[in-house]
């Protein structure tokens, strides 16, 4: 098995999950609580990656971050390195592609929190941010956890976006699913089978643990 690829994959999944936790909380909370009319547009935009093939996302990120785009040039002058075919490149693609898998469970968790709970907290003199931390988060953490687990697991199995953006550089952008693809291409079925089985086992263990935990903890 390609242990380097496994390490890269875990690193990619962990970074994606961490970034999406930070991004997803405010976006989801805004979607769950706003009364503004533009909400449906933001929701549609966030959900877009569910409908699009990952290659499309990968393609656009590739074009947007390439050496001919202002974004790509700015990145290169800042970090002295091009974005495509780097770890940062696949990370950006992965974050964009996973956005709905984080935001949707977060949003449904936040929507389930009765607005009156927040209002009660505000009327007790507690700020909006503190209310979020002390009331909203404790009441919605099972949904937050689900979102994070789905994001992490989903990134582990990432293929299209990584391939488009990262190519296949061992030790930099070569992830598990790409190593499986390579093994199959090379008619190396036994290694591909082992790695695939590992992925199936991992996904099953993670998901079943999450659901088991949720059932036990949810009824407050």
């Amino acid at each position: 098995m390609d242990w380097t690829a496994i390490l890269i994959t875990i690193k990619l999944a962990a970074c994606t999950t961490a970034i999406l936790l930070a991004l997803g909380l405010p976006i989801s909370f805004w979607i769950a609580t706003t009364k503004r009319r533009v909400k449906f547009l933001v929701e549609a935009l966030v959900a877009l990656p569910i409908m699009l093939p990952p290659t499309v996302i990968g393609f656009y990120v590739l074009v947007a971050s390439g050496p001919h785009s202002p974004l790509g040039q700015a990145y290169e002058s800042l970090f002295g390195q091009a974005l495509p075919f780097s770890f940062a490149g696949i990370l950006i693609g992965s974050v964009l592609y996973n956005l709905p898998f984080t935001v949707r469970p977060f949003t449904s968790a936040f929507s389930a929190v009765d607005r009156k709970m927040m209002e009660a907290s505000w009327c007790l003199g507690v700020s909006k941010l503190e209310t979020f931390v002390r009331v909203v988060m404790p009441l919605s953490w099972p949904g937050i956890l689900t979102g994070l687990v789905i994001t992490f697991t989903h990134t582990i199995g990432e293929f299209g976006v990584v391939l488009m953006l990262g190519g296949n550089i061992p030790g930099v952008t070569r992830t598990i699913s790409i190593s499986i693809y390579d093994d199959v291409q090379a008619l190396n079925y036994s290694t591909a089978g082992q790695t695939s089985l590992l992925l199936v086992a991992f996904a099953f263990v993670v998901l079943s643990t999450t659901y088991a935990l949720q059932k036990r903890v949810l009824p407050l």
């Binding site: 009765d114 009156k116 709970m117 209002e119 009660a120 907290s121 505000w122 009327c123 007790l124 003199g125 507690v126 700020s127 002390r134 009331v135 404790p138 009441l139 407050l220």
Partner: protein, 366 residues
């Protein structure tokens, strides 16, 4: 003396406009009841005072502090208003226990101070021994008291209660209704209570604001508003023509003798004790008028008096009678003619004990 003055409007779609107006002493205890049928906009008015809804125009101020000013685009969030707000369903935090719920808004204090404050609140609201329970492990009445303890823990300058008793079962409601006024009286702060329940309004209120379809119909001292509705509309909302304070003198065999004005009446004594202050409520259609005093009858009350006024209201007329207190009867037009009822005429009013409803009022001082 600081005053809380408010006069504002909030617009809704389809030309619905809700208005609110108050003028209260801000640093003394008083209960103002916002009374009206369901859906008349009472809750919206309360939420505007809390800072949970923003009025479209008008002003809300407490002393020198401006909470809302439509012309200057000034709007203070609820966090800055130092209030206690109790929503209809209490909204206790399910993930925190009773003590943590009560302590939730207590900030910038030492742990010792917070603990002492929580303990005070627990004992004031008879919640000792429940400190470690989760809200889901409490009865409706206990939840209500925890919510009240939480809302008042910071000793707010204004207490806002939205239908505080409506989520309770009838027996609990009755017990808490008696105590609520006493609990609120512990704070040197005005309370504004929203209710659609006449009995609740009478048990709690000093002042009442009667609302209907977003408009303030009448406001003033409760006994005055309830016994002298300014229009037919208010009279219909209130549904009781005579509301007079009284004092329970004796209770014998389930019947109470109540002194009111210069006369006494006999009423059913449900859960009423001797020496209790009550509101005596009599519906106008339950009053029977006669020219002379009958010799024997089943009705326990026979009150002689003279007519103050006769005001026609559709097929019925509203007859006000001075009989030691002011009694209002609703009678038909033929009856008016047959008995020759006109101002100054002598008349005898008959009332069954069952038709006189007594509503106890908790007294802050004894």
């Amino acid at each position: 003396m600081t005053r809380l003055t408010a006069d504002f409007e909030k617009d809704f779609k389809r030309d619905v406009r809700i208005e609110g107006a108050f003028d209260l002493e801000a640093d003394a205890f008083s209960v103002t009841v916002l009374f009206g049928p369901s859906g008349c906009g009472k809750t919206t008015v309360l939420r505007c005072l809390a800072g949970l809804e923003r009025p479209d125009r008008g002003i809300i101020r407490v002393g020198d502090a401006v909470w809302f000013d439509g012309t200057q685009n000034l709007y203070l969030p609820p966090q800055k208003r130092n209030l206690g707000y109790l929503s209809q369903d209490y909204s206790l935090f399910p993930h925190l226990n009773v003590a943590e719920n009560i302590a939730f808004g207590l900030k910038n204090r030492s742990k010792k101070e917070i603990d002492a404050r929580v303990k005070d609140q627990l004992s004031a609201l008879h919640l000792e021994g429940l400190a470690q329970r989760r809200p889901s492990e409490l009865s409706g009445g206990q939840q209500q008291r925890v919510a009240l303890a939480r809302a008042t823990a910071r000793q707010p300058g204004l207490v806002l209660l939205d239908e505080p008793l409506s989520a309770l079962d009838a027996p609990t409601r009755e017990t808490i209704r008696r105590d609520l006024r006493l609990w609120l009286a512990r704070f040197k702060a005005p309370a504004i209570v929203v209710t659609h329940d006449r009995v609740e309004a009478l048990a709690l209120a000093d002042q009442v604001v009667v609302m209907d379809q977003g408009k303030i119909q009448q406001s003033g001292p409760i006994a005055e508003v309830f016994s002298r509705p300014s229009n037919v509309h208010v009279a219909r909302i209130i549904g009781t023509e005579t509301v007079t304070p009284g004092l329970v003198k004796t209770v014998v065999d389930g019947l109470a003798t109540v002194a009111m004005g210069s006369s006494t009446v006999t009423a059913m004594a449900d859960n009423i004790g001797v020496g209790e202050q009550v509101f005596v409520c009599i519906r106008g259609e339950d009053v029977l008028l006669q020219a002379d005093r009958p010799e024997r009858m089943s009705a326990r009350n026979c009150l002689a008096g003279s007519i103050l006024s006769v005001v026609p209201e559709g097929p019925l007329s509203r007859v006000r009678i001075a009989c030691g207190f002011e009694l209002t009867a609703l009678v038909t037009r033929p009856a008016i003619e047959e008995l020759a009822l006109r101002p100054g005429a002598k008349v005898v009013a008959l009332l069954k004990a069952q038709s006189i409803h007594l509503i106890p009022r908790g007294q802050p001082n004894g």
